[in-house]
């Protein structure tokens, strides 16, 4: 009964390839997120979707494209992978707090460790 699940857990691939990471949440949350955690454990928001609509798009190369087929899923597709993309990518979800913004805690998946050779 995992709340936020990501697949795959590990992804090892060559530079220049295209890959996808999938995320699903069974919490009934309205908002989903992608974060990147670098080798120094620094966490940075990449994208946020609310009810399938993009609401946050931080400065991320356009090789990264999120897709939300429904509000329980937020997938991340990465084109032309580069060495600097090596990191752990976390999906998260939260209940939307409406116009007050989100004072709700976020629930995180266990991460996808992406290694570029």
């Amino acid at each position: 009964d995992t709340a936020v699940s990501q697949t795959p857990k590990y992804l090892v691939t060559q530079m220049g390839n295209d890959k996808s990471i999938k995320c699903e949440q069974n919490l009934g949350h309205d908002t989903m997120y992608w974060y990147k955690q670098d080798s120094k454990k620094f966490l940075k928001i990449m994208f946020s979707y609310n009810n399938k609509e993009l609401i946050i798009n931080e400065t991320v190369p356009n090789r990264f494209s999120p897709k939300s087929p429904d509000k329980a899923h937020l997938n991340l597709h990465i084109n032309s992978l580069e060495l600097g993309d090596s990191a752990v990518y976390f999906c998260a979800s939260s209940q939307e707090a409406g116009t007050l913004g989100s004072n709700q805690p976020q629930h995180f998946g266990d991460g996808t460790r992406l290694s570029i050779l």
Binding site: V4, T31, Y33, K40, K41, F42, L43, K44, I45, S48, N50, I55, I56, E58, F90, A92, S94, E96, T99, L100, G101, S102, N103, P105, Q106, H107, F108, G109, D110, G111
Partner: protein
């Protein structure tokens, strides 16, 4: 712009002693402040949050944090540390009208038996 600072990369404490993990923030307006814990090879887990009201908030696993507006701090505390508390702790901030969390750089807590 908003930011979160965790001035200590590493905190070591003996089992049974009180622990404090420091966090200061910078934001215009009223912040929503959070603490999360990350165990090895796992995602972040929510510990506690401050939104409004009582400055002392209690959370999971016996942790608490005190919001101090004048010092713009939100330090995490626990009266008696356990070895199982050893993990990476993140302070985070968002504010009304926003959805994305700004994280501090993390503090690695090691509880020594």
């Amino acid at each position: 712009a908003q930011s979160v600072a965790q001035p200590e990369d590493q905190v070591n404490v003996a089992e049974g002693n009180p622990l404090t993990v420091k966090c200061t923030y910078s934001v215009s307006g009223n912040p929503y402040l959070f603490w999360y814990v990350q165990y090895p090879n796992r995602g972040l887990q929510f510990l506690l949050k401050y939104i409004t009201g009582d400055n002392l908030v209690k959370g999971s696993y016996g942790f608490e944090a005190e919001f101090n507006k004048s010092q713009t701090s939100f330090h995490l505390k626990k009266p008696s540390a356990l070895v199982s508390d050893s993990a990476l702790y993140f302070c985070a901030l968002t504010k009304g009208g926003a959805n994305n969390l700004f994280f501090g750089t993390g503090t690695r807590l090691t509880v020594i038996p």
